[in-house]
């Protein structure tokens, strides 16, 4: 945790040595890349295991942005040329990529045809690793084809040094996961995949929902473990605080949440690999459940620490802040719940 704090309180987004070991020695960024493309050929369930560990450790790393989001965007786009050009660098960790997650109700840039391809203009708010990624993938509206205010959405790639790109690092509640707002002004971009990429994006977001849920599960479990240990050590009124039912029953409920959260994550990861038809509901279920569950447990774990939990030196707030920002990362819980309701057919 000392290392996590050191990075969190510095201007560096992550420790490059750790990233080099994660992607080199452990080959983690290539985990879900098919063997035919030089990857390890593992599944989303294996990625979920990595995410769970990263979430437990709060490890600052571009893993979610690069090895999950960007890798999935490329693989799901079916764009073989782009995959051949861009994926190897991401899979080996030498290129750090990101994907600007399109959130319902927030602006995305527009793409206009230019002589050499496309030019992007407009903002992409709150992009993970946005300030330091070498390669930015994003969704943009094909403005030439807009009619009645609605146009197809396609995926684009922008190099970090592209003209007209401005990156503004943001102040984040969660110090362990930096974000930046990107603005584009006639920025040259390469299109990836089909002209109407809405299905690709939808699946990428579902996969991201599952991976993030696994990360949330890891953090949730760590929070519970930490507070259970503390309740066995801390004495007030001549008793270990964990012996008071007011504390014990809350911890029991938190444990029930953990058991269910774990069951949901395992199931959702299984659908990602083995049962694609079930993935949309499972992904919405995973985010609807895990976002709330992690924040509740992180909050209660902080509160049950008592005053020490409110101090900067204690780690509780780091988890609390991560839990809250993760809960909102793919859109607020109401979006996931609305998506879930729609996918369950709860519509007129």
């Amino acid at each position: 945790m000392a290392k996590v704090r050191e990075i969190a309180e510095s201007s560096a987004p992550y420790d490059p040595d750790v990233w080099a070991r994660m992607t080199g020695e452990l080959d983690l960024a290539a985990l879900a890349v098919p063997e035919s493309l030089g990857g390890a050929g593992a599944g989303h369930a294996e990625v979920a295991v990595v995410m769970e560990e990263l979430g437990a450790a709060l490890a600052p790393s571009p893993y979610l942005a690069s090895a999950v989001l960007a890798v999935n965007v490329l693989l799901e786009s079916g764009d073989e040329t782009a995959i051949k050009d861009l994926l190897p660098g991401i899979a080996t960790g030498t290129t750090v990529a990101t994907f600007a997650i399109p959130i319902l109700g927030e602006p995305i840039p527009g793409a206009r045809k230019s002589s050499g391809g496309y030019e992007l203009s407009g903002p992409a708010p709150r992009v993970l690793s946005g300030a330091d990624a070498d390669l930015i993938l994003l969704a943009a509206t094909l403005v030439d084809e807009v009619s009645d205010g609605d146009g197809p959405i396609a995926i684009f790639a922008v190099e970090s040094g592209a003209s007209g790109l401005t990156r503004t690092p943001l102040t984040t509640l969660d110090l362990t996961r930096p974000q930046a707002t990107l603005t584009f002004d006639a920025t040259p971009a390469r299109q990836i995949g089909p002209d109407d990429a809405s299905e690709v994006i939808s699946r990428v977001l579902d996969l991201a929902s599952v991976a993030l849920a696994a990360e949330q599960l890891g953090g949730l479990r760590r929070c519970l473990d930490t507070i259970v240990e503390y309740a066995k050590l801390r004495v007030q009124f001549g008793r270990f605080v964990g012996s008071f039912q007011g504390v014990k029953h809350k911890l029991a409920d938190m444990h029930c949440t953990l058991e269910q959260a774990e069951s949901i994550v395992r199931y959702a990861a299984w659908t990602a690999d083995e049962s694609p038809d079930e993935l949309p509901v499972a992904a919405a279920l995973a985010q609807s459940y895990l976002g709330r569950a992690y924040f509740q447990v992180a909050k209660d774990h902080l509160l049950l620490h008592g005053g020490i939990g409110f101090t900067w030196e204690h780690d509780a707030h780091l988890y609390y802040k991560r839990a809250k920002s993760s809960e909102l990362l793919l859109g607020p819980p109401r979006h996931h719940r609305a998506r879930l309701a729609e996918r369950l057919g709860l519509t007129l």
Binding site: V228, A231, K232, R239, F240, G242, S243, F244, Q245, K248, H249, L251, A252, D253, H255, C256, E259, Q260, A261, E262, S263, I264, R266, Y267, L285, S288, Y289, R337, L340, A341, L344, G345, L346, T347, L348
Partner: protein, 400 residues
């Protein structure tokens, strides 16, 4: 094909031939006849020791059988307490003679068992029970009352825990006995519960004489035996749930909401989403627990998690149902078969799930103590001889 595949295939064939046409709630004679056939075919007591009438096979065969029987509802409900709780207790701590005498008829459905632990004055704190067993020359003489006993009316035998020493602390003076339910001193009275029906019984003991060889385990060591039996109970309550019908399930209620044109109401959709999350989370946890049990991992205190979650889910489901059906769920015409009546029944049933087999508060204590390993609450009655303890419900005067 492995031997195990072959075992499963034969079990499937046997079930197809013998369990296909069974009524959902068969009469006692039909249930007994089926149980005898099941036993004679070698599918009752698959993992139980062969020398006492079991099949002596491994958990793998049990799994293969469960797999083969997964979509068959076997009419074994009335034997459930014997198979799930009393039998395993006898196998682990019964005497050689008891095992030889009781296990085979239990497995064959010839003798039905019940379990008599709770008392009016000893609910969550079962160890404060007051039913007495006093040794008198050649036998124990039992007097007292038990409550919340399932299948007592059909039972031939029952496991009883009674106080055998009042001069030691409460946990140390309890003994487990096998009771002949046909003894003239045993009176079984149906207990009408809040559903208006009688799912449980009260049992009264008047000078019931019990031979010393009917003690299970050692005299004054009945508490640890009872704890094992109760763990089995919680597992079976929580995990049995996946197979029982839920009138207030997400699926049924979303259909009802659609039929009533309520899906345009955001508040209704929101409640349905909450119910879905709760139900799915429980089902997926339950499925994981079941897989672990089938893989030979005894869930122990984690059974209490399933029990607690199911209790919350049952209450929530009935609540959402009443919102969707509205006043129809509390006032309806006719014979009780309409949807309103179904929800009324669910509302009346729901608290039972949160009380039977231990209250929610007790489940949380168990999860805290045994799953999380938290320090136990100081027990003020731990070292006090039972005769000096306050037990049950005290009168207001006594509290002064």
């Amino acid at each position: 094909m492995t031997d195990l595949d072959e075992y499963g295939r034969r079990a499937r064939a046997w079930l197809d031939a013998n369990a296909g046409e069974l009524p959902r709630e068969p009469d006692l004679a039909t249930a007994r006849a089926f149980m005898a056939k099941l036993y004679d075919a070698g599918y009752s007591g698959i993992t139980w020791p062969a020398e006492y009438g079991g099949q002596g096979l491994s958990a793998a065969e049990e799994r293969a059988f469960q797999q083969a029987a997964r979509d068959v509802t076997l009419p074994v409900g009335v034997f459930g307490i014997g198979l799930g709780m009393c039998g395993p207790t006898l196998v682990s701590i019964g005497t050689e003679e008891q095992k030889r005498r009781y296990i085979r008829p239990l497995l064959r459905g010839e003798e039905i068992w019940c379990q008599m632990f709770s008392e009016p004055g000893a609910g969550s704190d079962v160890a404060s029970l007051q039913t007495r067993a006093v040794f008198d020359g050649d036998a124990w003489v039992v007097n007292g009352q038990k409550v919340w006993t399932s299948v007592a009316r059909q039972a031939d035998y029952g496991l009883l825990i009674a106080r055998t020493d009042v001069d030691v602390p409460k946990h140390k003076g309890i003994t487990m006995f096998i009771i002949d339910m046909h003894d003239p001193g045993v009176t079984v009275r149906p207990l009408r519960d809040m559903t208006g029906e009688s799912h449980f019984n009260e049992i009264f003991f008047d000078d019931v004489r019990v031979a010393p060889d009917q003690v299970v385990g050692a005299v004054n060591e009945g508490w640890s035996a009872a704890v094992t039996t109760l763990l089995h109970e919680r597992v079976s309550i929580g995990m049995g749930a996946a197979r029982t019908e839920r009138p207030a399930s997400f699926e049924a209620l979303s259909r009802a909401a659609r039929d009533r044109g309520l899906l345009g109401d955001r508040a209704v959709v929101d409640q349905l989403v909450d119910l879905y999350l709760q139900e799915r989370a429980f089902d997926l946890f339950n499925a994981r627990l079941t897989q672990e049990v089938k893989a030979g991992i005894f869930p122990g205190a984690r059974g209490s998690i399933a029990k607690l979650l199911l209790a919350d889910l049952t209450l929530a489901g009935a609540d959402v149902a009443s919102e969707i059906l509205g006043a129809e769920s509390v006032a309806y015409e006719g014979d009780g078969r309409g949807s309103g009546a179904g929800i009324a029944r669910a509302l009346a049933w729901a608290p039972g799930m949160a009380l039977g087999g231990g209250t929610n508060e007790i489940m949380r204590n168990i999860i805290g103590d045994r799953v999380l390993g938290l320090p136990r609450e100081p027990q003020v009655d731990r070292e006090i001889p039972f005769r000096d303890l306050k037990v049950g419900t005290q009168s207001k005067e006594a509290g002064k």
